[in-house]
Structures are given as structure tokens and as C-alpha cells.
């Protein structure tokens, strides 16, 4: 009898536990389905966002560095990644206001991190249309990394291509040239910028050096073409000036360039780098080289 009661109690107890477990499982499945449904519903509600808003409130890098507890490089990485997302968000109209602030923070946190200077300068030029800001960022890069030719090189490129300011480009290329490891093209770009600023002497000497030191034939050919161009520019400018003086003195244009020698305005008629005479138009007084320099 006692054993029977014990068995009944045990049986009822097991039944109760099993029933309770089943109930818990049912509730578990119901709650799973319910929160999945609610999750889908929350996704349907559009929330207003201020993408990257907090980045502009970051303190300056100098102070922030002390608050990174030795993880300044990691924080720089995170801010850089954040900045890329931030500047890729076109909905923020005034996002460029803090460009210098943000990239200077990264520069302070991790001065040797090259990418942010380059990318920051690109954003400044092509997105913010602010080349001056790009120069500031690249100058900052050079100040922190005096051994990196890429910063003055990129600045020179921006000055040349975007501003057409060859004086500035020449200065930046000069800086880049002086840094060991700068690619040979830097010297060629410097020589070209010097030509554009009408500093023919410097341009000639640099191209001559390029020609003499170049190992590849195509570089020698490029250098020769530029040397042809410089000589042609110097000669045609001198001849044009002489033609002008001839016209002032005799009231007419010379019939040919030899008349300039006879009038004592030049010592001899120069020839181009290939030994060819310059073309002269007696109707207009215009002096031009026989060949197009880059088609030689």
C-alpha cells in the first residue's frame, strides 16, 4: 500500500514537472515568435539620424591623446574610419567645416599614420573644393613626417592641376625632390613647373640633369623634348623681341630673320635643338619652331 502511494506521488510529481516543462517551452516559442514579429515591426519605423554628429565635438588631438590610455593609435584608426563614413554622408551639408579639426586630431593621435593626410587632402580638394585646406593637411603631414616625400609631392600636384599655380607647385616639388626616396618623376615635374614660371635657366639645368642621369631611353627622349621646348621658347622670345625693336626702328617688319643680324639686333640667327631654323612669317612677324616639341 505504502509503495503504491509512493509510486502514485512520484508519478504525479513527474507528470507535474513534465507539464510545467511543456508549458515553459510553449511560452518560450510564443515569446520567440512575438519578439521576432516586433523586431520586424521596429525595422519598419524610420528613425531620424544625425550621422557622425558626435565627431565634431571631439576635443583637440593633443588633449585627447592623454585620454586614450596608450591606445592613441587605435583611437586614431577608429576616428579615421569614422571620418571616412562621415565625409561619405552627403546629407550633412556642413560636414567640411570640421575637416581640419578632425584630421588634425588623427595627426596628433598617430602622427606617422600616412593615409589620413592623403585622404583628408583629397576630400578637401575634390569634395570640399578647398585646396588651401588640402595644403594645410599635407603641410601638417610633412611637419610630422619630414621623411615622407608623398606629402609635398601631392601638394605640388594639387597646386599644378587644380590651381595652376606653378610657383607653388614648383616649391612643393622642390621640397619633395630633396627628400630621399622621392621618385624620379618629381624632378621632371619640378623642371616642368620651373618652365611654366618662365625660369628657363633652372628648367634647362634640371632637364639636362634628368637627361644625363636617366637610365631609360624613354626618359631621355622626354628630357630631350623638353630641352627642345625650352631652347625654342628662349629663342623665339628673343627673336620676337628683336622683330619688335626692328619694327619700331624701321616702321616695318623684317623680310627675314637675317635682317635682324644686319640691323645689329642679334649676333646670329639661332637654330633649334635639332639645328633647324625657326619659321618666320613676314606678314605677322611671328616666330615659331619648325616642330611641335612633344611630337619630335
Amino acid at each position: 500500500m505504502e509503495a503504491k502511494i509512493e509510486a502514485t506521488v512520484k508519478n504525479n510529481g513527474e507528470k507535474f514537472l513534465s507539464h510545467q516543462r511543456n508549458l515553459l517551452v510553449v511560452f518560450l516559442i510564443i515569446s520567440l515568435l512575438l519578439f521576432s514579429f516586433l523586431k520586424i515591426q521596429t525595422d519598419k519605423v524610420v528613425r531620424k539620424k544625425v550621422p557622425g554628429s558626435s565627431i565634431i565635438y571631439l576635443p583637440s588631438g593633443k588633449h585627447l591623446k592623454y585620454m586614450t590610455f596608450g591606445y592613441s593609435s587605435l583611437i586614431a584608426d577608429l576616428i579615421y574610419l569614422w571620418a571616412i563614413q562621415y565625409y561619405g554622408t552627403y546629407e550633412i551639408a556642413d560636414r567640411f567645416n570640421y575637416l581640419e579639426h578632425i584630421f588634425s586630431i588623427i595627426a596628433e593621435l598617430d602622427p606617422k599614420y600616412v593615409d589620413p593626410y592623403e585622404v583628408g587632402a583629397l576630400i578637401a580638394v575634390y569634395e570640399a573644393h578647398d585646396p588651401e585646406l588640402a595644403f594645410k593637411i599635407l603641410d601638417m603631414g610633412l611637419e610630422k613626417n619630414p621623411d615622407m616625400w608623398i606629402f609635398p609631392f601631392q601638394a605640388g600636384h594639387i597646386a599644378q592641376m587644380n590651381l595652376k599655380d606653378f610657383d607653388l607647385a614648383r616649391e612643393y616639388y622642390r621640397k619633395a625632390m630633396e627628400i630621399p626616396g622621392a621618385p624620379p618623376i618629381t624632378k621632371r615635374l619640378f623642371a616642368h613647373a620651373a618652365f611654366k614660371t618662365t625660369d628657363y635657366q633652372t628648367s634647362w639645368e634640371t632637364w639636362k640633369e634628368v637627361y644625363e642621369t636617366a637610365e631609360e631611353d624613354w626618359v631621355k627622349e622626354i628630357a630631350l623634348n623638353h630641352l627642345y621646348r625650352i631652347k625654342a621658347a628662349v629663342d623665339t622670345e628673343a627673336l620676337t623681341e628683336a622683330v619688335k625693336k626692328f619694327q619700331e626702328r624701321f616702321g616695318r617688319l623684317p623680310a627675314d630673320l637675317n635682317q635682324l643680324v644686319r640691323a645689329g639686333l642679334i649676333r646670329e640667327v639661332p637654330t633649334d635643338l635639332d639645328g633647324q631654323e625657326y619659321l618666320y612669317d613676314p606678314q605677322t612677324g611671328e616666330v615659331t619652331p619648325q616642330r611641335v616639341w612633344w611630337k619630335r
Binding site: R21, L28, T42, R47, K48, Y57, L58
Partner: protein, 254 residues
């Protein structure tokens, strides 16, 4: 009644653990960091104070929920007090619910105190009280309730250290689940995408409780989202507690 007794005891235990000392750290963080960052920033200093304050409430609350929640059950087993408790007519489910509600009560009181300090600091800077901030704090509290359930679930089957790690991972996943949505868009249709979609729905989305940006920037908050987020929190918490009960009822203490 039994649940209430266990809950109140859990609260007393938390008090005895000097958890309220965390409040001093909160005040220090709020005062020092708000002042320091506000001085150094380029922009609106009140925004910084609001950000730091809300983040501190969230962070300290989360730390409390995880660090205390993961030790709740383990401590009872470790000190063998669970034998005394379960020998009484207390069901394991009641024991768990009591523990959970006790910790939620502790977190609630701490959140109220932290909010009072935060509002006072904000008032001293602006001489006005932005009541909308309370909405963000309310949802931080809902998130903390969910995180307490998470910590409790992990504490039913693992050691406090592991449970803390799991809970922290859960917290991170919860705040980064939006990245799964981005991944889903990049994955071609097929089994992989279905798995990702299932994961995206099942994994917690704690961003549903994050209204800090909206409150700080005074952006409109859709009322429907407030309602759905609240329900989501309640149901997800219930799901976690049910799971904890299922695990705990099979737990052997020897």
C-alpha cells in the same frame, strides 16, 4: 509573496555589497568628464554634458546588471545557501524571478539616483531642465532590465567570469546587429542569406532602446517606435527569463 521576499533580500544583499558606492563614481565621471570635455571641445558644451551623462548612466547600469547578475545564482550555489532556500516550499522558478526582480529593483533605484545627479549637473549648466532626457533614461532602464535577464540566464549554467564575457558579447552584438542588415544586402539570395536573416531577427537589437541621439539633438521620436520598442523589450526579457527557467530547473547543484 515568496518572489517579493526573495527580491527584497536580493536588494538588501546588493546594498550590503556596497553597490551604491558606484554612485560616487558616476558623480565623479559626470562632473569631471563633462566639465573637462566641455572645456576642450569645439562646439556645444551642453551637448557633451548630455552625452557623457546619458552614456554614464547606460554604462554604469550595464556594469551593474552584468557584474551583479552573473554572480546572483552562482553565489547561492557556491555558498551552499541554495540548499536551504530550495528545501523550503520555494519553486526554482520563483527563486529565479525573485532574484531577477531584486536586481531590477536595485538597478531602478540606482538609475533614479543617477538621473537625479545628472539632472542637477545639467541644471547647473543650463538653468533649465530638459524633461525629454527622462525618456532616453527610461529606455536605458528597459535595456538594463533586458541585460539583467541576459546575465541571469548565463549565470544559471556558467561561472561568473564566463557569464560576464557572454553577457558583454551579447551587449556588443545587441548594439551592432545593424551591421548584419548591411551584410544581408551584400549576400546573394540563398541559404546563407536566409540564415543571416534569421540571425538578424533572433539576435537582440538593443538599438531599439537607444534614443540618446534623438533626445540630445531634439529630433522627433516616432511614437509607434516607443511602443513597439517597449513591447520588444518586455517580450525579449520574458523569452530570456523563460530560457533561464528551463535551464535552471534541470540544474544539478552538487
Amino acid at each position: 509573496m515568496k518572489i517579493t521576499t526573495i527580491a527584497l533580500n536580493t536588494f538588501k544583499e546588493a546594498k550590503r555589497d556596497r553597490v551604491l558606492y558606484l554612485l560616487f563614481f558616476f558623480v565623479a565621471v559626470c562632473l569631471i568628464f563633462s566639465r573637462f570635455l566641455a572645456l576642450l571641445t569645439v562646439g556645444d558644451r551642453v551637448k557633451i554634458i548630455k552625452d557623457v551623462g546619458l552614456a554614464s548612466i547606460s554604462l554604469f547600469g550595464m556594469l551593474m546588471a552584468i557584474l551583479m547578475g552573473t554572480g546572483l545564482v552562482y553565489k547561492e550555489i557556491d555558498k551552499k545557501t541554495i540548499f536551504t532556500l530550495l528545501a523550503k516550499p520555494i519553486h526554482r522558478v520563483e527563486f529565479l524571478l525573485g532574484k531577477y526582480l531584486g536586481l531590477v529593483l536595485t538597478i531602478f533605484i540606482m538609475t533614479v539616483l543617477m538621473t537625479a545627479v545628472f539632472l542637477l549637473i545639467l541644471f547647473l549648466h543650463t538653468f533649465t531642465i530638459d524633461w525629454k532626457i527622462l525618456l532616453a533614461i527610461l529606455y536605458i532602464f528597459f535595456e538594463l532590465c533586458l541585460m539583467t535577464a541576459v546575465a541571469l540566464l548565463f549565470s544559471t549554467f556558467s561561472s561568473p567570469i564566463l557569464a560576464t564575457l557572454f553577457s558583454l558579447a551579447f551587449y556588443l552584438i545587441g548594439h551592432l546587429s545593424w551591421s548584419l542588415e548591411m551584410l544581408i544586402k551584400k549576400v546573394k539570395a540563398g541559404a546563407g542569406r536566409v540564415v543571416l536573416q534569421a540571425l538578424y531577427i533572433v539576435l537582440p537589437d538593443l538599438e531599439n532602446f537607444n534614443f540618446k541621439t534623438e533626445v540630445v539633438h531634439n529630433l522627433p521620436i516616432p511614437t509607434s517606435l516607443l511602443g513597439i520598442s517597449f513591447l520588444y523589450g518586455v517580450v525579449y526579457t520574458a523569452f530570456l527569463l523563460l530560457l533561464a527557467m528551463l535551464v535552471f530547473r534541470r540544474r544539478d547543484f552538487i
